[in-house]
Subunit: 259 residues, 2 copies
């Protein structure tokens, strides 16, 4: 789902990604060296770079984000890892092309058959792409931990069992890269999905949103989410937002942590 | 400067701060344990906890921020450490009670007499408090690396030598805790100070802003800064913002990194 978004936002891929043991000093050098690596338009290359990246720590990734050398999605995935454990149940509310679904599966699968990813998308194409990606990336036993539904994320409560202890609900809002750009997530259904997510999320769980604002209605959708988050009780929720101020098309990261 | 602000924002101090080697698992436990430690209203205690904190890594601090267990200022100080090296020259544009000035001095002082902190504040009381804090905290040789000026931050170019390679300009915007709350930083002078900072900052340097919005005019000042940052060229600047969506009085973190 994220490939074309990466392209459309033209996030630079830092040369330092290929270095190992990326230290503070290296960051300093990178920050001061003003590296300007060209962005690969090839989605697969982008994903493979992402997978092979040696930016393993939150520190490097956050610095990379602040220094414009890392993707918002890398920050999101690392934040997920701080909440999700092997064997957990999580929801990918917007499967898209399946890259987040796959990332979640790797976080919850422990080889013992525990762990579950409920994946949903309103577009059949998205779920087919997700299923294909899973077939290429994991073994059949792991894939069985993923339950895919062609359904609007606003109806997640219809597919996630009430008894589930849900640790993460992740949204990646916008349109399906490679799909019909007229079909996008909307404020009306996203707000219903957020309300549902707050109801079914476990205490100590996280709602993660990566909001792409480059499409018509994207900015309105962001404002709707910000308004929803600002109303959540401070006693029960910690709602944070990370965004780039001089990149109007860059995705906005929102984390709603349930105490 | 930050003591009363910490109090006014009632940031929780997590018990885990006292633990060493705070791991991801520990964070998970903290996140899931829903710890509710009481906040110490005593400023000195708060500072001493902060100084003794064993949250040494950006990863823990960022997680702490997202999980509502860490202060925005801790995130800012750790970001500074990724840009500032021993021997560097930096500016504290708003000394307040001197806690940021002291933190910067510790980052640049290397015992060889190199490094310099230009500290300024429009209020004489603030500089006296800063000077006292430095007297209590560092030796005379280190203190000599700090140059204090009773001047508006909008005039920083009058005190920072043109030849200087400036690595960091830090702002902590609002009023002087313990001082006259009628005296606050304002949009009019802050925008001039930001313009000055962008002129004198070295490539690879950082402008850091912690914006307190709880006072009259605070929200307007934030919007002025956001508008200024959004106009900075993407080729030359990476402008990021971190904020809490459901804590209207929580400080907003803004980093303007000069490529």
């Amino acid at each position: 789902m994220l490939l074309m978004r990466y392209c459309s936002h033209r996030f630079p891929i830092p040369c330092e990604k290929r270095l190992t043991n990326f230290s503070r000093r290296s960051w300093l050098a990178a920050a001061r060296g003003n590296l300007s690596c060209s962005f690969a338009q090839n989605g697969n290359m982008d994903v493979s770079l992402s997978n092979n990246s040696t930016f393993s720590g939150m520190e490097d990734v956050l610095m990379g984000y602040i220094f414009g050398k890392e993707k918002a999605t890398r920050v999101a995935h690392l934040v997920w890892k701080h909440v999700v454990q092997k064997g957990d149940t999580v929801v990918d509310a917007t499967c898209g092309n399946g890259y987040d679904t796959l990332a979640m599966l790797k976080m919850v699968a422990d080889g013992s058959g525990r762990g579950c990813v409920y994946g949903m998308d309103i577009q059949k194409d998205a779920l087919e792409n997700t299923s294909s990606l899973l077939n290429e990336s994991v073994n059949p036993i792991e894939k069985e931990l993923v339950k895919l539904f062609t359904i609007c994320h606003s109806r997640m409560e219809e597919v996630v069992p009430k008894s589930t202890t849900l640790r993460l609900v992740a949204f990646n809002l916008g349109y399906l890269p490679g799909g019909d750009k007229e079909v996008t997530t909307t404020s009306a259904t996203t707000i219903l999905a957020l309300q549902a997510a707050t109801r079914i999320l476990a205490s100590g769980g996280l709602i993660s949103l990566i909001v792409y604002v480059g499409h018509p209605g994207g900015r309105d959708e962001l404002e709707t989410i910000q308004a929803f988050a600002s109303e959540l009780s401070v006693e029960d929720w910690v709602c944070s937002e990370f965004q780039m101020l001089n990149r109007p098309l860059a995705p906005v990261l929102i984390f709603l942590f349930k105490r």
